[in-house]
C-alpha cells in the first residue's frame, strides 16, 4: 500500500513539474470531485462486517432470529422438508397422491427415481447447513450474551441445530430402524462456525449412531436450558415434542412417551375444538407446539404452493387420489377438509398461513402408541383416552375398550391425523413398513448425498443405492 502510494505521488509530482498552473487546476478539479483516497472507502449499506455481527448481546440474539429465519426457509420447514418426504412416502402401487406438477425434482422424488443431481435434494442440504452454521455462530458467541438470557439463547440454538440434524439423518441416511447404526453413514456433523474456508472444511459423514447422539445431546441440553414457555420460539415443551419424535425414530418407546407426556402435561397446549381450526392459521393455534411463522411480507409456505389449488394461491401440483380418501371412516370430519372433489387437502389453503411443524395431536398419538407398545404402567394416560381425544374431535365413534383397537389402528389413526404434514415417511421407516413394493430400508427412498457436495468435498461418500 505504501509503495503504491509513493508511485502515485511520483506521477502527481511529475505532473506538477510540468509547471503549468492549468494542470493544477485540472488535477485539483478531479481531486475535489472525487476526494481520491476517500473515494475508495465504500461500505455496504445492506450488510455489516461479521465481527460486528457477533459483538454484542443484541446482535447475537439477532443472529439467533436469523437462525429461525433460515429454519423457516422454503427448502426446510417452509415446506420442502415436509411435502417432499410425503411424496417419497407415497405408495407407488396404490398411489394415494399424485405429483402432477412440472418441476422435475419433486417428480423424481414421487417416482422414487431421484437422480444424484436433483436440485431440490441439494437445496435442502444447503439450507440445512446454512441454518446449522447460524446456530454454531450463536453458540460460539455466548460469552457476549447477557447472562440473564444466555441459557435461553443457547437452548434455542441447540434446539434448532439438533432438529436440523435429525431431519437430515431421516432423509439422507438409512433409517435408524434398519440397524447397522454404527456402520451406516449419517451426515457430516459440524459444531463450530465457519469463517475462512479451507480443506479442514471437507468434513466426512459420521455414522447414523453418531448423528443421533448429536441430536440427543443438543436437544436434551436445550430442554434443560429453555423456559417452559417462549412465545413462537423454542421452549422446553417444544424441544420435548421433537425429542419424542427422535425417540420414536430410535424405537425408544419409553423415552418417547415420557417426552410426549412432558409436552401434554405442560398444560401449554390444547386441541382446537374442531379439526379444521388447527390449520391455515396466521398465528399459532392452541394446538400448535411449534410452527414456522409466515406473513404477507415474510416467510415461505411451500406447502400452500404445492398442495393448494390456484384458487388458494398454490400450483395444485399434488393431487389426492381416491385410494387415500377411501382410508377414512364414514363421518370422519377430517374428510370434509378435502376440496376440489377431494383431490386437494385443505390443510394448506392459506397462502400466508404458518407452516406447522408439530402440534399437540401428534403428542397424544405418540403417547398412545408408545404406551401401547410398552404397556402398563402407562405414562400420562391410558392409550384409549389419548386415541379418543383424537377420534372424538373428528366425530368418530369412540373406543370403548382396549380390545377395540390394535397397533395398526393406532398407526392408521396417526397416518390420517397427520397426513400431508411431513410425517408419513418417517413413520413408515421406523415401523419398518415398506412403501408399496419398496423396502422400508431401501436406499431408493433415501435421498442421495447431493452431487454438488460430492464434487467439492472429496471426503464424502455417496449412499450405496446411488453408487450402483
Amino acid at each position: 500500500m505504501k509503495a503504491k502510494e509513493s508511485k502515485i505521488d511520483l506521477i502527481f509530482h511529475t505532473m506538477k513539474k510540468l509547471k503549468s498552473k492549468f494542470i493544477h487546476i485540472f488535477v485539483l478539479t478531479v481531486f475535489i470531485t472525487a476526494g481520491c483516497d476517500g473515494l475508495l472507502d465504500i461500505n455496504p449499506e445492506q450488510s455489516i462486517d461479521e465481527e460486528i455481527a457477533l459483538s454484542t448481546s443484541d446482535n447475537v440474539e439477532a443472529v439467533l432470529v436469523g437462525a429461525y429465519n433460515a429454519l423457516s426457509d422454503d427448502d426446510l420447514l417452509g415446506g420442502q422438508l415436509l411435502f417432499e418426504p410425503d411424496l417419497l412416502a407415497d405408495n407407488p402401487v396404490t398411489n394415494e397422491v399424485q405429483w402432477t406438477g412440472t418441476f422435475e425434482e419433486p417428480e423424481q422424488i414421487w417416482r422414487k427415481d431421484i437422480q444424484v443431481e436433483n436440485g431440490q435434494v441439494a437445496q435442502t442440504w444447503i439450507a440445512a447447513y446454512n441454518a446449522i452454521n447460524l446456530t454454531n455462530n450463536v453458540l460460539s458467541a455466548l460469552d457476549v450474551v447477557d447472562a440473564d438470557i444466555r441459557d435461553r439463547v443457547e437452548g434455542e440454538a441447540l434446539f434448532i441445530r439438533g432438529m436440523i440434524y435429525f431431519n437430515l439423518l431421516k432423509l439422507y441416511a438409512l433409517p435408524y430402524s434398519s440397524g447397522n447404526i454404527n456402520t451406516n453413514l449419517g451426515v457430516p456433523i459440524i459444531t463450530t462456525p465457519t469463517s475462512e474456508i479451507s480443506e479442514a472444511n471437507e468434513v466426512p459423514r459420521e455414522t447414523v449412531e453418531a448423528g443421533y447422539q448429536q441430536v440427543l445431546e443438543d436437544l436434551q441440553a436445550a430442554e434443560g436450558l429453555l423456559p417452559q414457555a417462549n412465545g413462537i420460539y423454542a421452549s422446553a415443551p417444544v424441544v420435548a415434542a421433537i425429542l419424542s419424535r427422535v425417540h420414536l425414530q430410535m424405537g425408544e418407546y419409553d423415552l418417547a412417551r415420557q417426552a410426549a407426556d412432558r409436552v401434554i402435561s405442560s398444560g401449554n397446549y390444547a386441541l382446537t375444538p374442531t379439526y379444521e381450526e388447527a390449520f391455515n392459521r396466521t398465528s399459532n393455534s392452541s394446538e400448535d407446539i411449534f410452527s414456522m411463522q409466515v406473513s404477507e411480507q415474510d416467510g415461505a409456505n411451500s406447502m400452500n404452493l404445492f398442495y393448494a389449488t390456484s384458487e388458494f394461491g398454490g400450483r395444485g401440483d399434488i393431487l389426492v387420489r381416491p385410494p387415500h380418501i377411501a382410508l377414512y371412516e364414514v363421518g370422519d370430519d377430517r374428510l370434509s377438509l378435502f376440496y376440489d372433489d377431494t383431490t386437494a387437502t385443505g390443510k394448506w389453503k392459506n397462502q400466508f398461513g404458518n407452516v406447522g411443524v408439530v402440534r399437540l395431536a401428534e403428542m397424544y398419538l405418540t403417547r398412545a402408541e408408545a404406551n401401547f407398545r410398552e404397556g402398563a404402567p402407562f405414562v400420562g394416560d391410558d392409550p384409549i383416552n389419548d386415541l379418543n381425544a383424537i377420534r372424538g374431535r373428528v366425530n368418530l365413534p369412540l373406543y370403548n375398550a382396549p380390545t377395540d383397537f390394535d397397533l395398526d389402528d393406532i398407526l392408521l389413526e396417526r397416518k390420517l391425523e397427520l397426513m400431508f404434514e411431513g410425517q408419513l415417511l418417517h413413520d413408515l421407516k421406523r415401523t419398518q413398513t415398506d412403501v408399496g413394493n419398496i423396502s422400508y430400508n431401501s436406499g431408493q427412498i433415501t435421498y442421495p448425498i447431493p452431487q454438488r457436495e460430492l464434487d467439492v468435498n472429496p471426503n464424502l461418500e455417496q449412499n450405496d443405492y446411488y453408487e450402483q
Binding site: 443472529v63 436469523g66 422435475e104 443431481e117 446449522i132 472444511n201 468434513v203 454438488r452
Partner: protein, 1011 residues
Amino acid sequence: MKKLRFFSSTLILLLFATTGYLHAQTVSGIVTSAEDNEPLPGITVLLQGTNIGVATNVEGEYDIDLNSDQFQNGILTFSGVGFVQQQIPVNGRSQIDVQLATDTQLLDEVIVVGFGSQIKEKVTGNISSVSASDIEGVPVNSLEQAVQGKAAGVFIQTNNGKLGQGIQVRVRGSASVSASNQPLYVIDGIPVTTADLSINAAATNPLADINPNDIESIDILKDASAAAIYGSRGSNGVVLITTKSGSSGATQFDVSYAASTSQPSGKKDWLNGDEYLELFNEAFANSSTDGTINGTIFGFTRDGLFDTFIPGWDQGFDTDWQELAFQDNTSHKFDLSASGGNESTTFRVSGQYSDQEGIIIDNTFERISGRLNLDHTANDKVKIGTNLNLIQTVNNRLSTDNQFSTPIQLVALPPVQRPFNDEGEPSRQTVYDNGLLYRDGATFETTVFRALGNAYVNYEPIDNLIIRGELGADVLDQNEERWYGSSVSQFTGAARGAADNRYVRVTNITSQAYANYIKDITEDHSVDVTAGLSTQQVQTDQVYVSGIDFPNDLFRQVASAATIDGGTATNTSYSFTSYFARANYSFNDTYLFNISGTIDGSSRFGENNRYGFFPAASAGWILSNESFVEDIDEVSFLKLRASYGFTGNAEIGNFPSRGLYGAGAYGGASGLAPTQSPNPDLKWETTRQFNVGIDLGLFSDRITAEVDYYNKNTEDLLLNVNVPASTGFTSQTRNVGALENNGFEFVLTTRNFVGDLNWSTTFNFGTNQNEITDLDGQVIEGSFVSRAVEGQPIGVFFAREYAGVDPDNGDALYYVHSADGKDYSAGTTNSFNAANRVVIGDPNPDFQGGIGNTFSFEGFDLNIFFQYVYGNDIYNGGGTFQSANADFFDNQTKDQLDRWQEPGDITDVPEARLLGGNGTGESSRYLSDGSYLRLKTVTLGYSLPQDILDELSLRRVRIYFTGLNLLTFTQYDGWDPEVNTDFTASNITLGTDFYAAPQPRTFEVGINLGF
C-alpha cells in the same frame, strides 16, 4: 458511406457554386486520375481556409470563381475519397489541370484509442474498427448486433430473439470464469453503464438505449497494449464508441424513415393432433399395467389419465400452438439530424424515434433519443465542448424462457387441446397454463430514462501540449412495472391480481484529466505522450414494492392493492481511481514504440490489495519504409508489430472480500445472518496478453491484410468457488485458478473493381481456443449441463453420453464411461444413474467471422454480408420435454415419430413410455452442432442522380431495402442456432437452448433524404 460523402460534398459545393461571386475571376481545369488518365467526377475543389468550393462534373471539369486576392494568393485543395489530396497555389492561373494519385494509404485513417487517437499506420496494438457505414441502416435492436461478424475475434451472441434482451460479447474469448466477461464500453471517452438491470433472470441490455445512427465509429481495443490504459477494466477488451460530430459548413439536414417487418428465422416441426394421439396412445400402452391401451398407469385408465391432463383430447382439435406465439409486426424508425457550424463552433443535433415490434406476441421496444454534440474553439488555446444524449426507451417485455407464460412455451401444449374456449377467451383447460392468458391478462413494461453526456475543456498552454479536463455522467433511471390480472392467477397464485413496481437509478460519474504532448522532435524522432488520472463512482439505488388483491382488473398500480406483500429499498456503490500514462515514440516513421502503465484502485478490494498496476509495451516496424521493401513494387505497406502487457478485471460484486452479515426477519423480529465468508486477500484478476501481427498492403493497397496471433493468460481468477455447503456457504470469491485463450485473427480487404463499378470484399476470420488451466481442482456448475472444469474450455457440456436405443427392447442406452472420462470399454447401460457424466460438447466456437461484399454502380449500392460461427455445440435443455418420446404430455417434436416400436428397430428415439422416463435425463441426446452460416444482411440502395437532385433542390435521396438474417445454414434443428436461453445465460452457461425465441428475419425499406 464513402459514396454518401462523395455525393454530399458534391452537392453542397454545387449549391455554393450556384450562388456565384461578383467581380470574380474564374479558374477552371480538368481533374484526371494519375493511374489511367480518366477524368474524375466528384472531386472537391476547395479554396483553402474558406467555404468556397465546387465539384468536378462527369467530365472531370470544374470552374471556380475567385476574387482577385484569392486569384493571386489562394490555394486550391483537390480531394476525393480514394485519392491523395493535393494543394495547389493558384498564382494567378486561370487553367489548372490536376492529376490525382490513387490513395495507397487507406491505412492512414485515424482511429480512436483510449484517451486519444492515433493514425492507424502507427498503431502497434490490435484494434478492430467498425465504421458508421457498417452500422447504419441495419435493422437491429442494439448496436452490438450491427457489429456481429464484422470485427475479427469479437464473438457477439444475442441470447434470444426478444427485444431489449441481453447480448453476450466476447473479445478474444472468455477471460474470466466468475467475473464479467463483457467488454468495457466507453462512449465519447466516458465509461457507460452496461450491466444488466432486469427485475427477472433475463438480462436487459442498457446499450439498446443508444441510437446506432449516432455512431461514427466503434473501435474495439483487443490486445494488452491497446487496453492496458483501462487497467483493471481492460481484460475483456474495451469498446470505444465515438458519436458523430458536426463539421464546419452550411447546415446539412438528413432525414430518414424506415419501415420493417420480421418473421422468426426458424421454426420447429411439431406433431399434429393425429400424430400426437398416435404417439401418446402407444406411450400409454407401453407404460400400462398390461401393455395395452386397456391397462392402467398409477391406477388410471387411458381415458382417465388423458381426461385429467389433456381434457378435450378426444374432441378432434388440431392446434398449431407454435403459430400462436408469433405476431404480425411492423416497425418504424424515423431519424432527423442537422449538422454544421463555422470555424469556431461545430454542432450536430440528432433525434430518433424508433418503434420496434418483435416477432413474439406482446414484445415491443420503443426508443426516443435526442443528441447534441457541440464543439467550440474559444481562442488559440481553449476549446470546449459537450456531448449530450437524452433517451427514453419503453420495452414491453416477456417472461423468461422458462416460464409457461413466455409465448414460445405455447409449443409445449398438445395439439389436441384448443387455444380458445367457446367465448373466444384463452382456454384454461390445457395441460400447462395457457400462455395466451398472459397476452391480455398481464403486462410487463420497462421504461428507461437516460441522460448520457460529458463536457470537456481542452487547453493548449504551449504548442503540442493539450490538457484536457472532462466530466461525464451516465444517469440511468429505470422503472419496471408488472401487472398480473386475475385471469392469470393460475400462474401467479394471486386470485385477485398482483402487481409490482421496481425503480432503479444508476448514477455513473466519471471525471478525468489528462495531458497529451505530441511533437516531432526532429525529422526523425517524434513522440506522443499521454498522462492523467480518472475516477469513476457508480451508485445504484433500487426501490421495489409489490401488492396483491385488486378490486378488479382495471386497477394495475400497487396503490390499489389490498395487501402489500413485499417491498425493499437498497443502495450500493463502487468506485475506481486510475492513474495512467502512455508514451509513443517513433523513429523515422518506421520504428514505433509504445509503453503504457495504469495504477488502478477500486473500492471492491480489501485493504490488503486495493491497488493494481497494469503495464504494457508494444513495438512496430514499418518494413515498407525500408529500402529493401520499398523496391518491391507489389508491396505498398508492410508492418510487423508485437505487444505484451497486463490488464485486469474487477467486474465482481461490490464487497466480495468481506465477511458479511445481512439482515433477515422471522416472526416479526429482525435478525442477522451471514451472507458471505471473508477473504481479505482478494485482489485483481490479471490477464497477460501477448500479441504479434502483420499489416500488409499489396498492389497500391488494393489488397490489405492483417494477421494476428495472440495468447491471453488470465491468472488469479476471481472465482466464485463452490465450497462444501456443510460450511453454511455454497461459494466464495477467491483468487484461484487460471485460464488461457489463444487465437489467430485474419482480416482481408480487397478492392476488386475501382471505377464506375466498385466492388470490394472484406473477410475476417478469428479462432479462439479457450482452456481453463487451473481451478484448484474445483468444478463449477452452470445451469443444465454446463460447467467449468480444469483442462476444458469454459462452459463445456458435462452429462451422460447417450448411446442410442437398445434394438431389443427400446430402452435408452448410455455409455458407462469411467469417472475420469470417456471410456467405451465398459459398454452401455440402460440405467441412467449407472452411467458416468463426461464432457459431451463445447459451446465455444472454433472460429467465427464474416464475409462482406460491397458493390456500387451508378446510383446503386449493394451490400451482402455473411456471418459464420463454426465448431460450437448447443445443448437443448428443453429437449427433455420437447423430444422425450412422449414421456409427459408436452407436444413432441416431429422426429419423435421415429421411436422404437418393435424388436429389431434401429433408431435414436427410445420406446415411447408415458411417465416412463425412458431416455429423458440430461444427456448428449439433446446436444447438437451449433455451427452456422448466415446471410446476415443484404442491402440494396439506389441514390437519385445529381441532375434530378438539382431539380428537387435536394442534396441526397436514397431509397433502400435491407434484409436481416435472410438465410441461415445450420445443422441445428432448434429455432435458431444463435441462442443462449435468457434465464440462465452466464459466463458458464453458454450455448444452451430452452424455449428461447428465435432471431428475427427482418425486411426493411427506407429512404434517406439530405438537404
